[in-house]
Amino acid sequence: MKLRSDLVLRTIGSDHLIVDPSQDRIDLSTVYTLNSSAAWLWEQLKGKGFTSDTIVDLLCENYDVDIDQAKSDAEILLQDFQKQGLLEK
């Protein structure tokens, strides 16, 4: 899977966000906020194909987590990305 290439992660002070312009007739553009680890992962993953394992590896290499924790965190993050439509279809 791949992150949507039209979305840009932005940093304002210590906050991270993504603005998704609504393409409907009605303007309901959405602002997503990311915590610092999700924002870091976004930067690592953007522009390339990845799987759940890619995220698990990134988490294990860079954070002090065991593999089970990393797997469950990766699953939650992916579900969020999927649900909010941040992945390419």
């Binding site: 039209d6 932005r10 940093t11 304002i12 906050d15 966000l17 312009p21 007739r25 303007d27 602002v31």
Partner: protein, 304 residues
């Protein structure tokens, strides 16, 4: 023998927030007279590069059978006379003429750098109104390529610094500006509806434009931007600074960009991100009274 005259175009140029907007129009078309709010912005130096060009044509509009995808038909200014379409690499804007027997037809490239406007049967008043509005819509998009955002705000000039009041239509932006003019010494209006903001090496500047809503205030002036204040009507006066994300979200809805060109939309967000890093944002719950203006002033100019 003067057979070519009818197709000859002349140029009328304006400089708005440092961007050069050029109209190409038939020699005998009285463009400058139709656009009185642009008078202060006329730019006579023809050596500068044109940033945005609008060709005004009196020929019959080449309206295709298929106008493309209807993106929106919502317009506060034009009601149901307005349509906006995306077709391949162009955007098409149409407004029915007043008589209801013709169409204003505007064809723009994706970034609104080049547009052609076809003029239907219409009075001089209608021509002035529509061309002024079309130019605003075009400028709002194309300026995003030049580190410039047009925003919906009423702006005061207090001792050489600009303060931009934001809020939904009907919130009382103009009313709050007027309270400053009346109760805060050394304050005048810069623009009442559509100023432009530009990032420069010297900081963030706010510019008057030829567009100012119902208030005729078309000043070709620029000021350092002291702050944004989002207004909300309330039964009391209360000011709160909005930092980081909250500041960004407070200003975002007042910024201009079409959503169907994702590069322009992304440019808008990038420019806003940079502006928010430099300019403070406040949130003012307020009554329409002198105390509201005084409270707001005390926060924005507390160090002076």
């Amino acid at each position: 023998m003067n057979l070519t005259t009818s197709s000859e175009l002349s140029q009328t140029r304006y400089r708005i927030a440092e961007s050069i907007l050029e109209f190409n129009h038939p020699v005998n078309y009285p463009l400058a007279q139709l656009l009185p709010s642009f008078r202060d912005f006329q730019w006579l130096d023809s050596s500068d590069k044109t940033d945005i060009s609008i060709t005004v044509s009196l020929a019959k509009a080449p309206i295709p059978e298929d106008l493309g995808t209807l993106r929106t038909d919502e317009s506060i200014a034009w009601g149901d006379r307005f349509r906006f379409y995306e077709k391949e690499d162009t955007f098409i804007t149409t407004i029915s003429n007043e008589q209801g027997n013709g169409l204003w037809y505007l064809q723009s490239d994706r970034n609104f750098e080049h547009s052609t406007l076809y003029v239907p049967t219409s009075s001089a008043d209608e021509q002035g109104g529509v061309i002024t509005w079309m130019a605003m819509m075009i400028f709002g998009q194309a300026s995003l390529l030049h580190n410039t955002i047009m925003i919906h705000a009423s702006v005061v000039n207090h001792e050489g610094k600009g303060v931009a009041f934001l809020g939904k239509s009907g919130t009382g932006k103009s009313t709050h500006s007027r309270l400053w003019l009346k109760h805060i010494p050394n304050t005048v209006l810069l623009n009442d509806d559509n100023p432009a903001i530009r990032i420069t090496d010297e900081g963030v500047l706010i510019y008057g434009t030829p567009w100012s809503g119902k208030t005729p205030c078309y000043k070709n002036e620029q000021l350092p931007l002291q702050g944004f204040v989002r207004l909300q009507q309330a039964p009391m006066n209360e000011f709160e600074w909005q930092t980081g994300l909250k500041g960004f979200i407070a200003v975002l809805p007042s910024c201009t960009s079409i959503r169907w060109n994702k590069e322009l939309f992304s440019n808008m967000n990038t420019i806003l991100e940079k502006i928010i890093a430099q300019v403070p944002v406040g949130y003012l719950k307020c009554l329409p009274d002198a105390a509201a203006a005084e409270l707001c002033h005390s926060y924005l100019f507390s160090n002076e």
